[in-house]
């Protein structure tokens, strides 16, 4: 296992309490609680439509939760109290504390690989071009893509795009990384290169929440696994328990179906 030593002893970095998100009558997330320690990797699994992506998007308020509480570091947001929910530039600043990687990569289509990594540093953090370029270059090297620096996203393979997207997410030195089914849109032979990068990040001590269908990755890299169904956490625990010896019937049948495929 690649879990870092401080994973269990570390301070609590992120805490969610009774988080709910509904769209009209549809409740996508129905009261979710979770705490993530510094350096911990939390994997979220579950059938499609179970609310795991919505949950992730609630964490950095890409979707505003309907109610519940979120704490990151020393800042607490109570979504039932309007005034505690950041908006405008405070919301933008809040979001920059997270790095997010998406299923469809979503690299900025008009910018080259290195510009994609730089733009957050120059626009959001107002660093100089030279400074941003130097750091962007070292991030591209870290994901093994230094030679693609001047290519546009459409000139890169899916796996390369996703690795650039990871470099972009790392650029602002986020406190927590959010991965939203980042290998689901990739051809099978490209999945490995992306998982390798995530594996390396985890062993370097990054705090990560990973929504995924890659059970082997969850088993090997995660410190904690949540199994979600219908917007709720059905079972959670260390990967050896949830993935190898699940107690809940729903978890069992989900995993059984999964292993058959």
């Amino acid at each position: 296992m690649t879990n870092n030593s401080n994973a269990n002893a570390g301070e609590i970095k992120l805490e969610l309490k009774n988080l709910k998100k509904s769209y009209g009558d549809i409740q996508a997330v129905r009261g979710l609680s979770l705490s993530v320690k510094k350096g911990q990797v939390v994997a979220v699994i579950g059938p499609s439509g179970c609310g795991k992506s919505t949950m992730l998007r609630c964490v950095n308020i890409l979707e505003e939760p309907s109610s519940g509480m979120l704490r990151i570091g020393n800042d607490t947001i109570d979504f039932s109290v309007r005034s505690s929910v950041p908006s405008g530039s405070r919301l933008a600043k809040f979001r920059s504390r997270f790095g997010m990687v998406f299923q469809q990569f979503d690299l900025f289509a008009h910018l080259t690989a290195i510009q994609n990594v730089m733009i957050g540093m120059t626009v959001v953090q107002r660093r100089t071009d030279a400074e941003a370029e130097e750091r962007a270059m070292s991030l591209l090297e870290r994901v093994g893509l230094a030679e693609t620096r001047d290519r546009l996203p459409k000139e890169l393979s899916g796996g390369q795009q996703q690795r650039v997207a990871i470099a972009r997410a790392l650029a602002l030195e986020p406190e927590i990384l959010l991965f939203d089914e980042v290998t689901s849109a990739l051809d099978p032979e490209l999945v490995g290169e992306v998982l390798d990068v995530m594996h390396a990040l985890a062993s370097e001590g990054a705090t990560m929440i990973v929504v995924t269908h890659e059970m082997a990755f969850a088993r090997d890299v995660a410190d904690w696994v949540l199994f979600m169904e219908s917007g709720k956490v059905v079972e959670e625990g260390p990967p050896q328990e949830v993935l190898v010896a699940p107690k809940n019937d729903r978890t069992k049948s989900f995993l059984a179906r999964y292993h058959r495929q």
Partner: protein, 220 residues
């Protein structure tokens, strides 16, 4: 047919009329395209704000001007509006307002359409790295959207250029109305209107070719 073409007859002595007519036409085309563009950017931006008290009146404006002939609009502003507001608008203003509002409604749709055509993923990725709305628009959305807006905007400008010929009905001395005056003086409609058509063609052909090139580039 034995017609004696004589272009010299309809030009000589009328040079100043023709030059003025040409300049009036170009000035109206350029002026109303720019005015319409500004109007379109403003209305298009307000539509994106998604406030119902803004979107309803703007949609009403757009549909009203899109679904009535611009000829009717110019005539209405010149002959009908003055009765309502008890002020006679000069012809140049009534026609300019009509043409600008007409261009503006198409520019609104082009602007809004360009923005909302940008993939949702681009918006969420920009938000996720902590960009404010203004930063996202300036660095991510507009650079991509403007590329898509240019071809339809050039095409609409070509149509707008041709529509300036309608200035004729309120006696603004553009190319078309100048032609009418010269015909009244010379009784030579064949040379005059052929010449007018050629002048429009020479002005617009390069513009349409440019529009085609931009469209082809946008497809890549």
């Amino acid at each position: 047919m034995n017609y004696n073409w004589d272009f010299f007859f309809v030009i000589a002595g009328y040079e100043n009329w023709w030059i003025k007519g040409l300049l009036v036409t170009i000035a109206y085309a350029v002026g109303t395209v720019i005015g319409g563009l500004i109007l379109g950017v403003i209305c298009g931006t307000l539509l994106l704000a998604n406030r119902i008290w803004l979107t309803v009146p703007i949609h009403m404006y757009v549909e009203l001007f899109r679904c009535t002939p611009v000829l009717v609009q110019i005539v209405w502003f010149f002959f009908a509006l003055p009765i309502l507001i008890q002020v006679q608008l000069p012809a140049w203003l009534a026609a300019g307002v009509g043409l600008t509002l007409y261009m503006g409604c198409f520019a609104t749709e082009i602007f809004r359409g360009g923005i909302i055509s940008i993939d949702k993923g681009q918006w969420q990725a920009a938000r996720a790295i902590g960009m404010t709305y203004v930063q996202m628009m300036r660095h991510i959305i507009l650079p991509q959207a403007i590329r898509r807006m240019i071809p339809p905007f050039v095409n609409q400008s070509v149509i707008q250029f041709k529509n300036t010929a309608l200035l004729y009905v309120v006696a603004v001395p553009d190319l078309m109305y100048t032609g009418y005056l010269v015909v009244a003086d010379t009784y030579r409609p064949l040379e005059v209107y052929t010449g007018v058509a050629v002048a429009y063609f020479v002005l617009l052909y390069p513009l349409t070719q440019w529009g085609k090139r931009l469209e082809a580039r946008g497809d890549k």
